[in-house]
């Protein structure tokens, strides 16, 4: 540790010496906000689908429950996030995230302008990224117009990790051809709750 201490002091001293002649420049403040037109939830769906994801919207909780039953039939097991309400979990056997066919999350919120979901490490990180398909619930009122506002909404209490997911896993590293699901989920389905 003492080697580190000395290194810190020497690095900071070199930085100060290097900057001595330089005028300190002010922070420019905040970028002007871009007001997206229309309903954030609708805009979110549009952009998220452009990003390669799937979306579904519900007017009532009952309709969401009904949809979930049918949707779950395609999967043999699930890795549920800790924050997902019981009623929003499929009736599937629970498996470890690296074995489950479907991860299920409850998003902290969304951003319409980039089609982005905000996920919290308190529900578990592995279930968000290991299963080949990912179902994410988000409440309509938690979808913000911009990424600025979404991030601002969680600034006060940051968990150990937040993740922004804007679609399925993509790679164009093999001959510049786009493939899905290289490491993360190939399918991401966002279900927007009333």
């Amino acid at each position: 540790m003492s080697r580190d201490e000395g290194a810190r002091d020497r690095i900071l001293e070199r930085i100060r010496a290097a900057s001595r002649e330089r005028e300190p420049l002010p922070h420019p403040g905040t970028l002007p906000e871009r007001m997206a037109a229309g309903d954030p939830a609708e805009r979110f769906s549009e952009i998220f689908e452009q990003n390669g994801g799937e979306t579904v919207r519900f007017e009532t909780l009952e309709s969401a429950w009904g949809w979930l039953e049918g949707f779950a039939e395609d999967f043999a097991s699930m890795a549920p996030g800790e924050d997902v309400p019981e009623r929003l979990l499929a009736s599937l056997p629970v498996a470890a995230p690296h074995e489950a066919e479907l991860g299920i999350s409850m998003a902290r919120g969304g951003a319409a302008e980039t089609g982005t979901l905000l996920l919290d490490s308190r529900e578990g990180r592995r279930g968000q990224i290991l299963p080949p398909a990912h179902l994410v619930w988000v409440r309509r009122r938690d979808i913000h117009a911009t990424l600025d506002r979404l991030l601002e909404s969680v600034k006060g209490e940051l968990p150990s990790a937040l993740a922004l997911h804007s679609g399925p896993s993509l790679s164009a590293d093999i001959g510049q051809v786009t493939v899905r699901g290289v490491h993360g989920p190939a399918r991401v389905i966002v279900a927007i709750l009333p």
Partner: protein, 492 residues
């Protein structure tokens, strides 16, 4: 003599790639032109001029408050249980990793793509310590299997076409020779998934370090960074000391602008915002999180009166994608970790003129790079500055110095100029020889320069100086028999 060889290293490497591996040029050109087009489209959707001004100003604020912001970031990271290390050199950074490897008994490490980790050459040391290292970004894994360095900051295997990757996977992983991209990718997923689950250590870089909250921000598309920072029990983020952002509020703009510049997306598919190791009551995540703050020459760049502006760089590679010179060879011609326009100004700053000064000549100074740069680094100005230092330090070749000296004497003395003009008109072969120094490489791939039979002064006197000349001077030019290339017009 060593100086001369060193001075021509870029040129020799570039020539070798262009002459012997035409498929590299085809693959790189296709890849970067696609990325550049997407970047242009995504810039058009926002008020990119305002965004880029803002991003430049935030970075200038960071660079002129670096000591305070580093201390603030370190304090906030430590408050969240992150272990902060300070590394003055690459060797120091490798020592930090080595300490963790020994203490934790690390056998398998998974890495996400990090140019800083390439700069620090951590893989060699890890492997020497008996650690099996997996690069997990698909492109980076391809170059690891190929045992070569990355060729692009964002798309490491951009120089390898589908055919080359098929052959590589066939030889190393046994996939069929006619496998499609999906099949190859799913083989990669299966192999690397095993590594993620077995790994004792995850190593990442860092796109942004937010001082106000102590947050490490990482942008990606594949999900391998999320896995590297979530699955193994220890996560180490290698972070250049210039990577800071002052406030949480700055993140949104930088994440979006960087994504638009790098890959032409409004935001990368996955962004990790990491504030510490697994919290109390959290079901998973690393038990230990380390941030290694690396100087390795950056404070020296900071002290440089011009080169300090390169510290704004967010490593998006937009300048590589826009560059007509990079397109011809890909990054290997640069011979150092950072390639393309940013490499041409950063490598001399980090490594010195002796080792990398010739890279300042790997440019036509067209300026496309600075137009693409999200933080407005004046790349052509900085290239010229390095060239001036090369010339001032007599690091250019003796032939070049003699010729430029002669050129300068001729151009500033009217009588000498007229004499040289007359000589070239009488001996046109002077300008078409491939053996001529400096001009030779131009002539080699283009039609020879042919001097006009009449001097510009004469044309001016006979045809252009009249009152009617203003309206249609262009036609007279065409009728004058002058070739596009002739230098006579420069007469003052």
């Amino acid at each position: 003599m060593a100086e001369q060889r060193e001075g021509k290293a870029y040129r020799a490497r570039a020539r070798e790639i262009i002459d012997r591996h035409p498929e590299i040029r085809a693959s790189v050109t296709g890849g970067v032109m696609d990325l550049d087009r997407k970047r242009v489209d995504r810039y058009a959707e926002i008020d990119s001029e305002t965004w880029r001004d803002w991003a430049r100003d935030v970075k200038d604020h960071v660079i002129t408050h670096l000591d305070e912001l580093l201390e603030e970031a370190a304090a906030n990271l430590e408050a969240r249980g992150v272990q902060v290390h300070w590394a003055e050199t690459a060797a120091d950074a490798r020592r930090v990793l080595d300490g963790i490897v020994r203490r934790r008994g690390v056998k398998v490490a998974v890495k996400s793509k990090s140019m800083l980790s390439e700069e620090l050459e951590v893989n060699r040391d890890l492997e020497a310590a008996g650690v099996q290292v997996f690069e997990t970004d698909l492109g980076e894994w391809i170059v690891q299997l190929q045992e070569e360095p990355p060729s692009h900051l964002i798309v490491p295997a951009i120089h390898r076409d589908l055919d080359a990757i098929r052959r590589l996977f066939h030889a190393r992983l046994g996939t069929p020779l006619d496998a499609g991209p999906d099949e190859l990718a799913s083989q990669a997923r299966a192999t690397l998934r095993q590594a993620f689950l077995e790994a004792d250590l995850g190593i990442s870089g860092c796109n942004f370090l937010v001082a106000e909250t102590g947050t490490v921000a990482l942008i990606e598309n594949e999900g391998n960074i999320r896995l590297c920072t979530s699955a193994p029990p220890v996560h180490v983020a290698l972070t250049g000391i210039e990577k800071l952002l002052p406030r949480w509020q700055d993140l949104s703009g930088f994440l979006q602008l960087t994504s638009r510049a790098a890959t032409g997306q409004s935001l990368g598919t996955f962004v990790s915002l990491l504030n510490g190791p697994k919290g109390p009551g959290e079901p998973d995540g690393p038990e230990e999180m380390h941030v290694v703050l690396v100087d390795n020459g950056r404070s020296r760049v900071l002290a440089d009166p011009r080169a300090w502006e390169t510290l704004r760089c967010v490593r998006c590679a937009a300048c590589l994608n826009a560059c007509p010179v990079y397109r011809q060879t890909g990054g290997h011609a640069w011979g150092h970790v950072y390639s393309g326009p940013i490499g041409s100004i950063l490598d001399p700053a980090l490594l010195g003129l002796e080792r990398a000064g010739d890279l300042a000549y790997a440019s036509s100074l067209c300026g496309a790079c600075t137009e693409a740069c999200p933080v407005r680094i004046p790349i052509p100005d900085l290239l010229l500055d390095w060239r001036a230092r090369m010339a001032g330090g007599r690091r250019t070749t003796a032939t070049e110095r003699t010729l430029i000296g002669a050129y300068s004497r001729i151009m500033t003395r009217p009588r000498l100029y007229r004499l040289a003009g007359a000589l070239m008109r009488r001996l046109p072969g002077l300008l078409s020889s491939r053996r001529l120094p400096m001009i030779g490489s131009w002539v080699e791939r283009r039609a020879a320069l042919r001097p006009s039979p009449r001097t510009f002064r004469r044309i001016w006197k006979e045809e252009l100086s009249g009152e009617d000349a203003a309206g249609d001077a262009g036609d007279h030019h065409r009728g004058s028999g002058g070739q596009p290339g002739e230098e006579e017009e420069r007469e003052r």
